[in-house]
């Protein structure tokens, strides 16, 4: 299952800055076996390794939730900050302002981003803070044991029988609408798609939003859920016979661009992913919004790079910060000279 579980080769290959894949690994995961978040961690390790991000330049940030714990499970030697619930964006913003050379990777959950942290999410996007913002999106609050999140489908039923009466908040649709400079969606089990998207996100200067659908093995497997095994079996005749998926098996998909695939989750529920093909123009914001909304009306989650604007100025540019990180400036650059100080005080006399 997860990369951290496989024993490392004694002397593996190295990336272009001479660092082995081992260095990109983190502590062993404490998340449930089979959790989509673990798959994402694996893909992150691969992407960071392949992009040759210097580990000391990486700064990992997160909020609170199962998903937010994941920053401990890759690049152990990098600095990480597990903030308070929903506030990863402000920490990320501050850190980037202090040291513009840091490669900021923030991990959040759908509760962390679409509920308690919705304001900070929107405003981070507005400011185009240079970071990779990953939402590990499972439609539930994993860590508090399965309550609905704001990205849950309308009409879905919670473990204790409660029906979600409310419209879903679409992380990607919202980001496009807010003017994000990079918006993509993927699936935790689709490494072929996710790894290149992550690498593109690291390379992007500005906020790169990645909504990664990431099934929760523990809190969706119950009768009455529109995503449950029983429900899908009874209502969806098109489906092939469903196999039982052991809870510790990672869900993997591999499907070509421009097609759809049906993903069966651990609880037997299904989800249709549509991979954007070359006909989608990711520089067209309206088109991005259209594919998201059209996909939703068909009950599909559109995956791929929805929108990108590589030219948009990021926050450090808009703030006109110098190339040298602010935190490296000293007394000489920051204090008024004794003359200027005396002159200023003279104006106040």
């Amino acid at each position: 299952m997860t990369a951290t579980a496989t024993p490392p080769p004694a002397a593996g290959p190295r990336n272009r800055i001479g660092i082995g894949r081992e260095t990109y690994k983190g502590l062993p995961t404490t998340l449930c076996a089979g959790c989509g978040h673990n798959s994402i961690t694996n893909h992150l390790i691969k992407a960071l390794y392949e992009s040759a991000i210097p580990p000391h330049r990486l700064a990992k940030t997160s909020g609170i939730g199962c998903s937010s714990k994941a920053i401990a499970y890759f690049v152990e030697s990098a600095h990480g900050l597990n903030a308070v619930h929903g506030r990863m964006p402000s920490i990320t913003t501050g850190a980037k302002l202090a040291d513009r050379e840091l490669v900021m990777v923030g991990i959040s959950g759908d509760g962390d981003t679409a509920s308690i942290g919705l304001g900070q999410y929107c405003h981070l996007i507005r400011r185009n803070v240079d970071c990779t913002y990953i939402v590990e999106d499972n439609g539930v609050y994993g860590l508090t044991k399965g309550q609905f999140s704001a990205t849950a489908d309308i009409g879905s039923v919670q473990k204790k029988g409660q029906v979600n009466e409310f419209e879903t908040i679409d992380i990607c649709g919202l980001a496009v609408e807010l003017g994000a400079s990079f918006v993509a969606r993927s699936f935790s089990g689709d490494g072929k798609q996710l790894v290149p998207l992550l690498r593109a996100a690291f390379a992007h200067r500005g906020t790169a939003v990645l909504d990664v659908i990431s099934p929760c093995v523990t809190f969706n497997d119950h009768e009455g859920s529109t995503k449950s095994y029983e429900y899908v079996k009874a209502h969806d005749t098109v489906l092939q016979e469903l196999d039982f998926i052991p809870a510790d098996r990672e869900i993997v998909v591999d499907y070509p661009e421009g097609t759809t695939t049906t993903v069966r989750l651990h609880d037997g529920s299904e989800m249709v992913l549509r991979k954007l093909g070359p006909e989608h123009d990711p520089s067209d914001r309206l088109a991005a919004l259209r594919v998201v909304l059209e996909g939703r009306s068909r009950g599909e989650l559109v995956t791929g790079l929805l929108y990108v604007d590589p030219e948009m100025a990021d926050l450090t540019e808009r703030e006109r910060l110098p190339q040298v990180p602010l935190r490296d400036l000293g007394e000489a650059e920051l204090r008024l000279s004794p003359d200027a100080f005396a002159q200023l005080l003279a104006e106040w006399a």
């Binding site: 990480g80 501050g94 202090a98 304001g119 703030e319 990180p325 935190r327 650059e333 920051l334």
Partner: protein, 637 residues
Amino acid sequence: MAHPNGRGAAGQTAAEGLGPVVNDFTLTAATVNGSGSQSANLVLTRALFAMGIPVAPKNVFPSNIEGLPTWFNVRLSPRGYQARRAHTDILVALNAQTWQADAAGMPSGGVVIHEATLPRTGDAAREDCTFYPVPFQRLAKERVANPDLRKYLTNMIYVGVVAELLGIEDAALGSALDAQFRSKPRARSSNLEAIEMGRSYVRESLVKQDGFRVERMNGTEGELLVEGNLAAALGCLMGGCTVMAWYPITPSSSLCEHLIALADRYRTDQATGERRMATIQAEDELAAVGMTLGAAWAGARAMTSTSGPGISLMAEFVGFGYFAEVPAVIFDIQRVGPSTGLPTRTMQGDVSSAYTLSHGDTRHPVLLPGTVSECYEHARLAFDLADRFQTPVFVLSDLDLGMNLWRSRSFAYPQGPFDRGKVLSADDLECLGAPFARYADVDGDAVPWRTLPGTDHPGAGYFTRGSGHDDHARYTESSTAYRGTMERLARKFETIRRAMPAPLCLEEGSEIGLIAYGSSDAAVGEARDMLAERGIDSDYCRVRALPVHADVEGFVARHPRVYVIEQNRDGQLFSILRSELAAALGTRLRSVRYFDGDPIPADAVIEGVLAQEEAPAQAADGLLAAAAATTTTGGRG
């Protein structure tokens, strides 16, 4: 709340029948918010200052943009007192809405300069004041065509009237206009014309009948006239702040706006436009403090500024900063709470909440500047303390200190470099020999070492979290590790206690001790003089920080009766002292509390002390009983 010109204070004036009163009185201008009275008030203040007369201006303004009443008080005091006086001597009445109440609030012997169309009926029919009717509106209408400008210049006409009646020198007005309209020469000349209009009206149409006047003196030499928020902004700049995140709120906004202006002027490369400072208007105070913590975690000197409502919102993140040991500088320019309270009035209401902000056992260093020069000094110091102790540091100012102009001795240029605290570089890590342990107490002062993100060493990284952690910053729910961390944090707080500014004590062996802090300083200093004139000596200890310095305990130990004077209802510092001082000393404390929303006057201090001197309260145990050992003062009118 007392009426802003001291309604009900009749009989307190010294003017009546005593002949001339020189440089020792208070003038109040009652105007309408949004009418442009602010620049007239400033020109008047600066002109008096330029004549060497110690002035202390205070604005009493509503939470409103236009239309509600606003008052401006300027106190002249040859002895240099800057506290608000509970009454006024000269009223400039330009607001029909408050005319009756303003006139009624005047003490006998006072002077009332008023818009001529305001009727001398009701409370304004009194005969024990000198009334000077001036047709401000008609004068402005005759000479100024543009109606907006007319409204604005009406205020400047009042400056001319006052200048002529009191004897303010032309040269002083000239330099005040220079300062006010530095970059707008055309505005300067139209304002000067308006002043002249007022002057000539007095010369031609009025006969001076009162004894109030001004004379040049030597009372402001070498002094600044500056508001605390501007002083604090300069302190931030000189303290090396590079990231400032804020969300607008009165009375904190001007600190941030001044800092932005200073950064534009002093941190911006004229050639490239590069700015050595980030100033971010955040979406709320949660984000503002989050950005501050994020920036400080990454090694920048970072701050935010807010007032009570913002402090409440920051609570969760501040606890994170305490437990995960991340620096931050947080200014709280206090205003009247709870809740929205009186948003444009002053209070020392956040002392207890700032000191222990957030859930669990939390304690934060709190600086309590009492003067504008301390606003500057403490702002600078706060960044050193935050870096050195890796924890959020509060600077508690208030609306009175922050938004009013205060006279001050000049500010000192900082000596020595920034204190960046215990930060390990890649080289340091190389020399360490052992793995770096983020939260280990290696020096015995309970202050650990940290590394910054971006440090090029494989051993530099560590994990910052608000959940349980061990010395190596690893996640743990072990009760031993938790207790160890909490006990170290408590020891760290003792290290912090020793590093905080000592109180300023003025002692001559009196029986009575007074303890105060922050903006109450002005009133306490004056009250001590007044008490001494009545033969009652008192010693004074001005607390300048929490946790309480050992010298405060010493002061209490030397005085059988100690009055803790503060501007809140619950005696917040009083309670902190009672719980932190030795029990035997706690019983010596008595509480004097003023919470009218306007700055505490000396009278309220005297009243509070004397009431308890005359009727000694029972020795009190516990808070409920302690409430008995209390005087609340104020509430006049």
